[in-house]
Symmetry: C2
């Protein structure tokens, strides 16, 4: 019903497909750095990130996205890590581009709201209104130990802190009203202090007086992005997020997720267009499906098997010696269920593998070294069909693309898939604006004090 009403309306603007590229060093398959044209040091080379961003901007992507961690990854002997701090790297990218959005991850667990509000407001200023903040909590013990803790804070505590954190950051972003900078050279009045406001926040986790020492940024607020799959995560997203990265593995689940999220958002007084659902998607592209599958197997087979076995065993909660490459998964192994937000490609592939009797090697290939997000192995046409289907049906407003290799896999997508999506009228041919909010069709948030003033005047 929702779909019908939205497509039958002649007055509503057409829905737009949104595409981000997630820049994870040399690509999402852990062996990407081993290809002949890859530089193993690309993960710490700003030129690599700029090059990927420029390819994405030439193809009119909405944004580049950077993940982040607060500790070293496991198994660094086999693959690059997420090393460079995102907001700084995104400033470098913004300087070399003009339109594409720049979304960076920062944790609410090991930062202070005042610092994060400043950094993303600054990124919004230097990028001319292209910044987004991906709000995450941090759950690994390694990170906890880098910040004076012996244990990971519990799930509910992390999300309570995150929700208060996001509220404080928004309050700080409202510190300066649009008209606060007067700059009257004749009178010498620089700022109207009546339009600069304290936050005066006192909460369970934070006491922050404010005001922020950064004037209102071009987008009002940088775009708030989130990726919560759990109940707490969905609730945080429904309250604060304007774009959500989902890891849904099937069309039906993604549709259910999108509907659930938009229902939760409505409970906070937010309309269905206020939160965009972007599904994670790894692509492995070939001129034929057989060629794409060959590419996948070649990439997976370049990952040291000890790495893949350890990773799979870790996710399954067993020791690596329980898994034999050319045997099936042990029959007595209970697979993780698909409840509690575990609707990922990983869980679906496990179930499929058991059903069809995959060997461990076949299972690892089918997972394509993926980290829980969906993988499509196929031709540009097949990938475009899938994207169009999900988009038109409302299972996703767009995709957070995680190419198998970078920049190669992105270039293949741009050369092969984008023209098809453009011909079908699904994806833009030109940018219509220069801000991330503009690309995503998100409103600029009204400053709370300006709104109060307007309401008072209207009485």
């Amino acid at each position: 019903m929702t779909r019908q009403s939205s497509t039958s309306s002649n007055t509503a603007p057409p829905r737009r497909l949104h595409l981000n590229v997630n820049i994870l060093h040399s690509g999402f398959v852990p062996s990407a750095w081993r290809l002949a044209d890859a530089d193993p040091r690309a993960f710490i080379d700003v030129k690599h990130y700029v090059r990927v961003a420029q390819i994405a901007e030439a193809a009119k992507f909405d944004a580049v996205f950077l993940a982040d961690n607060a500790s070293i990854a496991d198994q660094i002997n086999f693959r690059p890590i997420t090393a460079l701090e995102p907001t700084i790297l995104l400033a470098s990218i913004a300087a070399a581009t003009s339109h594409i959005g720049v979304i960076g991850t920062a944790s609410t667990s090991y930062n202070e709201p005042y610092n994060i509000a400043r950094r993303f407001a600054t990124l919004d200023h230097v990028s001319g209104g292209r910044a987004g903040w991906n709000v995450v909590t941090t759950a690994d013990l390694g990170s906890a130990r880098n910040f004076g803790r012996d244990a990971v804070p519990d799930h509910a505590g992390r999300y309570a802190r995150a929700a208060e954190f996001a509220s404080v950051v928004k309050a700080l972003w409202d510190s300066w009203e649009e008209g606060a900078i007067v700059g009257n050279k004749a009178t010498g009045l620089f700022a109207d202090t009546d339009q600069v406001h304290a936050a005066a926040h006192q909460g369970a986790h934070f006491a922050v007086q404010g005001p922020l020492n950064v004037p209102r940024s071009p987008q009002g607020y940088p775009v708030l992005v989130q990726a919560g799959a759990s109940g707490d995560g969905r609730d945080l997203a429904a309250r604060h997020a304007e774009a959500v990265f989902s890891a849904s593995q099937s069309f039906d689940e993604s549709l259910g997720y999108a509907r659930d999220l938009k229902t939760r958002a409505a409970a906070y007084g937010r309309g269905p267009d206020a939160v965009k659902v972007l599904a994670g998607l790894t692509t492995i592209i070939g001129a034929t499906e057989a060629e794409a599958l060959r590419r996948r197997d070649e990439l997976v087979d370049l990952i040291p098997w000890s790495y893949s076995l350890t990773r799979l065993a870790g996710t399954l909660g067993v020791t690596p010696d329980r898994l034999k490459l050319d045997e099936k998964l042990p029959d007595d192994l209970s697979l993780p269920g698909q409840g509690n937000g575990n609707h990922t490609f990983f869980h679906a592939t496990l179930a499929q593998g058991r059903q069809h009797g995959y060997t461990v090697r076949e299972l690892i290939r089918a997972l394509a070294g993926g980290g829980g997000h969906r993988v499509i192995v196929g031709t540009p046409e097949q990938i475009a069909d899938d994207i169009e289907h999900w988009f038109k049906a409302g299972a996703a407003d767009g995709f957070n693309l995680m190419p198998d290799t970078l920049p190669g896999g992105l270039q293949d997508f741009v050369d092969g898939v984008i023209p098809i999506l453009q011909r079908r009228g699904v994806f833009r041919r030109e940018y219509e604006g220069t801000t991330l909010r503009g690309h995503l069709g998100l409103a600029v948030p009204e400053n709370r004090y300006s709104a109060e003033r307007a309401a008072a005047l209207a009485v």
Copy 2:
């Protein structure tokens, strides 16, 4: 004696003059934003900062420098504030330049060592080895209240935290040895984990396990900068800093400061060239001295007198109504003494004003709206003479330039003063390298684990 021995040696490389430009929005005189060619919004416009940096790079400056605060400034109704977060803004500047160093301020009081280590290592990576960190503690109540505190931590406590903070950051910067990234495509070995080390720090203020999730940056460590004048500050500088910003007001005091600092550094086993002393210097330039003085008075008279009176009164510890513009300072007013690190231009000018019977207006003009740093009002020749004298005598290794207006005052310096310094062989005509350490003549710190390994092999 030190001077003689250093100038009589034929083998030592020539000492080099170092010049940074401190980019404080539209310039160091608070009225700079009111000039006809100034944009009042320049303080939040990345293009403004990039333009200043490009002028400085064309003139072969060592670095640009950005101050920082963790709260809003007083009297924002009269002048711009330090708004944009330095590391992000410096990444933007680095992307638009190729040689000049980028030094940013970050506080040890309201950050975590792991985050700071990451950010400056990242800035060093994206700038290709041009990053510096100005280590400060934060002493204002406004900042404390933005980070959950009701009071400012005491001086000794702030410096104890800062010293431990700097030690942890250095340990984290040593996490990855130079050879840790193997990147062997044939074998699949990406990193040699024997060359990646935990910090395992347990101290009074921090517990940080490490390793840092950023590989060793181009400079080994970003350059450590500090500006402490107090005993605690000098000690922190002697232990960790490689460049120190001083606010010395007179030649003799600066010489004493430089000698004291280098003596303290020697106690930590550091040579006299391991710490560069850069004196703060505001310049107001005219074709004649009379023209320069007119420029100064015009700029000062453009500052609202209520602002200047409030600022002066605040520094003197009296209420503004005690000060009458066209009268002398009240005779019963006790001026702040020049002890305890108070050897600043401000204190010297106060003493001079009392001696010569300045009115408050004349005193405010003589201070040129300055914030405690020395002001030279004069011709390019006079300024070059002063710089050369200080430099050759060892009262400073260089200057942290704080032009009256930006970019205008810097352009005047570049057009007028730099050619004189170059003709006299005091300042470089070309860069000899591309790193900040190279410009400053500072060694790349040896990784502590690599050093241990080398020592073990040598036995």
